[in-house]
């Protein structure tokens, strides 16, 4: 049988642990946190953006100031209505799959 004093002590110790109200404590801690450093994910996004812009500029000058774009539009305008529709739907599906893939990969990253 338990010592009644043990039970009394356990009960009193538990009772003597009140919840301490935050009362601005978290805010004070947050103000004192060191500035966040640039994370690898932000740096990665910046590198991809910079590489894309550089590639576009190089491709523009290397292709005779974008004549290939002009040619591509001319080819597209020559397509039949059904072919044009399939190209547009294909592009839409590809973009949707890419977006979903990125979103799911990001969600997976945040779970231990």
């Amino acid at each position: 049988m338990n010592d009644p004093l043990d039970d009394l002590l356990d009960a009193r110790l538990r009772d003597e642990t009140p919840y301490i109200d935050d009362a601005g404590f978290t805010g004070r801690v947050m103000k004192q946190l060191p500035h966040r450093r640039v994370s690898w994910s932000s740096l990665r996004s910046f590198i991809i953006l910079a590489a894309t812009i550089l590639s576009v500029v190089v491709a523009y000058f290397a292709s005779g100031e974008g004549m290939f774009v002009h040619d591509a539009f001319a080819r597209i305008s020559g397509l039949q209505q059904l072919q044009l529709f399939l190209v547009i739907v294909g592009c839409g599906i590809t973009m949707t799959i890419a977006g979903l893939w990125v979103a799911l990969a990001r969600r997976h990253e945040t779970i231990f």
């Binding site: 009394l8 002590l9 110790l13 003597e16 978290t26 801690v29 946190l33 994370s39 994910s41």
Partner: protein
């Protein structure tokens, strides 16, 4: 659905999300501040300063958290180390004797009127017993977890809890009669 500590930690680690860390502070501030109030004998301002230092240190070293223990246990360990550093500095400044800091107030010298209050009785325990009793009996840590927090052998934790409880029971018995 409320995010778990693990989800919030992942956000802090992967995205540097300070809001996620703020949520962790909000969740754990009460037990951490409560532990430090016990350690510094209810000096609320000092305990809150040490608690702030605890969370700032946790944020700076969050990558060293391996997930081997619960996040709360890891925080208690940092809090205890912050308290020990503070106690060491205080000793250096005012030249308090090591034995005096360990033994602190002798329960026999406590005003009998204060024995009616368990918190005062707890505060009168030597530091190592008070810490062990607070972690295990108030904050609900297992002996293993408390040994990890205090960085002492498991047997020592059990002894400190047992001795602390015996002293508290004596004081409580006097109060009950």
């Amino acid at each position: 659905m409320e995010l778990t500590d693990g989800d919030l930690l992942a956000r802090v680690l992967v995205d540097g999300d300070q809001h996620a860390f703020g949520e962790l502070v909000r969740r754990h501030q009460s037990p951490v501040r409560g532990l430090l109030r016990q350690l510094v004998r209810a000096d609320v301002e000092l305990a809150d300063d040490l608690a702030q230092e605890t969370f700032i240190r946790a944020y700076k070293h969050i990558r060293s958290f391996r997930g081997e223990a619960k996040f709360s246990t890891w925080l208690y360990r940092i809090a205890y180390n912050v308290f020990r550093e503070h106690a060491r500095k205080r000793r250096e400044l005012v030249g308090i004797d090591e034995k005096q800091l360990q033994a602190e107030a002798d329960p026999q010298t406590v005003d009998p009127g204060l024995r009616h209050d368990l918190m005062n009785a707890l505060a009168s325990l030597p530091l190592h017993e008070r810490t062990a009793v607070t972690l295990c009996c108030q904050n609900g840590l297992s002996h293993d977890e408390a040994a990890h927090v205090l960085d002492i052998p498991l047997g020592t934790v059990k002894t400190n809890v047992l001795r602390g409880r015996e002293k508290l029971k004596k004081m409580l018995a006097a109060w009950a009669t």
